[in-house]
């Protein structure tokens, strides 16, 4: 749930491996807690109604749609934008963006969703745009940082051998920054899946509904099971992104 990108400089083989081990373990523990609550606590008819399978199924579907659409929207906007501002001629815009992004982290997602709602009305598109705006920052920042950390001498050598600007971008800069950019996308996906739990606030559905019903009707087990499901979903997506990060990065790095 952060706009903080994973630490890029110190990704050791060990930390990469732990990356793929620790979140599944957490997911399993949370799953066990959820199951235990479901099996051993008092489940009255109201709780049963909140946790009705067809409801959960619908909410899960909504959450996935929200997470996917907003992530794709972010990728389509933030990466090209990051590429543009790192080209020559935009140093001011880039510095402005980098400076602003730090502070913009303090923007509450809650407020953002509600503000979008006040303009766009209820519904799923509102939430998708709000989420995309909120998770734009990590992808944009990682795209900028990723492109800028490419060794200048490698670019110089590429230019010196006759690569055109486009070839340098496609064959050197992007391959060499893909790991950092994917790390940003990973953060964005986790944010989007997680924040889609707030979609219920503006009629966008999602698993947040279960939590909200639990809160409103004071049903602890429902709250807990809802929270566990949201958390597991985020952990699963984080895990999948970590896999992508591992296998999409070019060999030789």
């Amino acid at each position: 749930m952060s706009t903080v990108s994973p630490n890029l400089s110190s990704r050791t083989p060990l930390s990469e491996r732990l990356d793929l081990i620790v979140s599944p373990i957490f997911a399993v523990i949370l799953g066990l807690i959820g199951t235990a609550v479901w099996l051993y606590s008092d489940i009255d008819s109201i709780t049963e109604d909140i946790l009705a399978p067809e409801k959960l199924q619908r909410q899960l579907g909504e959450t996935l749609v929200l997470g996917f659409s907003s992530s794709i929207l972010v990728i389509l906007v933030a990466i090209p934008l990051g590429i543009v501002v790192t080209r020559k001629g935009f140093p001011r815009l880039k510095n402005f963006l980098v400076d602003t992004l730090g502070l913009a982290q303090a923007l509450p997602a809650y407020g953002l969703i509600v503000i979008f709602f006040s303009f766009m009305g209820a519904g799923i598109t509102t939430v998708i745009f709000a989420l995309a705006t909120f998770s734009l920052l990590p992808v944009l920042r990682n795209t900028i940082v990723g492109l800028e950390q490419v060794d200048k001498s490698v670019i110089d050598a590429g230019r010196g051998m006759g690569y055109t600007s486009r070839q340098i971008l496609m064959k050197i800069e992007l391959p060499l920054s893909v790991e950092v950019i994917i790390a940003g996308i990973r953060t964005a996906i986790v944010i989007n899946v997680g924040m889609s739990a707030l979609a219920f606030l503006v009629g966008g559905g999602g698993l947040g509904e279960t939590i909200n019903s639990g809160l409103k009707l004071d049903r602890g087990p429902a709250i807990l099971i809802g929270a566990v499901m949201v958390a597991i979903l985020a952990l699963v997506f984080d895990f999948l992104s970590a896999l992508a990060q591992k296998y999409l990065k070019p060999k030789g790095l």
């Binding site: 952060s2 903080v4 060990l14 990356d19 303090a106 407020g111 986790v190 997680g194 709250i223």
Partner: protein, 218 residues
């Protein structure tokens, strides 16, 4: 422009309420930064020599950041009830990673020659830590604290959903009253005050940076 005026009017019409929400919000940030700061720095110091312990601590801290905020806020309700407690726990867990990571990076980044010569002059390990390592790593640690502070200012707005107060109260009440008069003002006020609070905290940390970092490494 009209909206800005009515926003100001709304804010100054409820000074007491605004100040209370601000104080609650800032209270979260300060208490969390202090406790999580101490906890993360100590963890970083303790685990820094053992690679497995260090990476494990980092991995666990980063899993906390992966868990959606609403989930983390409500998951402790069955144990500790509503209000301040679940919000504090969630924010505490969220703010660990940036501080822990920067503590480890900062301590790692110290020139081994400096440590060698400190040892050579007869400083005990504790003295080396307190007089050499921490002062040299402090700028990096402080940068981590800054990232954490920005992060929790934003997330603390969720506290209102578990009756934890803070600036989220305005957003919640505004949303509940839409489209009645003053509802938009309430939503924007909550959001903008979060950004302003973040700006003020950032300035304070900048000042702390100037005051606490040796001129030699600034």
């Amino acid at each position: 422009m009209d909206f800005l005026l009515s926003l100001l009017e709304f804010a100054f019409g409820r000074q007491e309420q605004v100040l209370e929400a601000l104080a609650q919000h800032a209270g979260y940030v300060v208490s969390v930064l202090v406790t999580a700061g101490v906890f993360a720095i100590v963890t970083g110091i303790v685990t820094r020599r053992n690679q497995l312990a260090r990476e494990l601590a980092l991995s666990i801290a980063s899993v906390f950041l992966t868990i959606p905020s609403l989930a983390l806020f409500v998951i402790f309700i069955p144990l500790v009830g509503l209000g301040f407690a679940p919000s504090f726990i969630a924010l505490f867990l969220y703010s660990l990673l940036p501080i822990l990571r920067n503590t480890i990076t900062g301590l790692d980044g110290i020139d081994p020659g400096v440590l060698e010569s400190a040892k050579g002059m007869g400083l005990s390990p504790l003295q080396v830590l307190l007089r050499v390592e921490l002062p040299l790593a402090w700028p990096v640690i402080l940068a981590g604290i800054r990232v954490s502070s920005m992060l929790i200012v934003g997330i603390a707005a969720i506290a209102t959903l578990v009756a934890g107060g803070g600036l989220g109260d305005f957003i919640k009440s505004g949303l509940a009253r839409l489209p009645l008069p003053n509802s938009l003002e309430a939503i924007w006020l909550g959001t903008i005050l979060c950004l302003l609070l973040a700006l003020v905290i950032d300035l304070i940390l900048q000042a702390a940076r100037l005051a606490t970092i040796s001129k030699g490494i600034r």
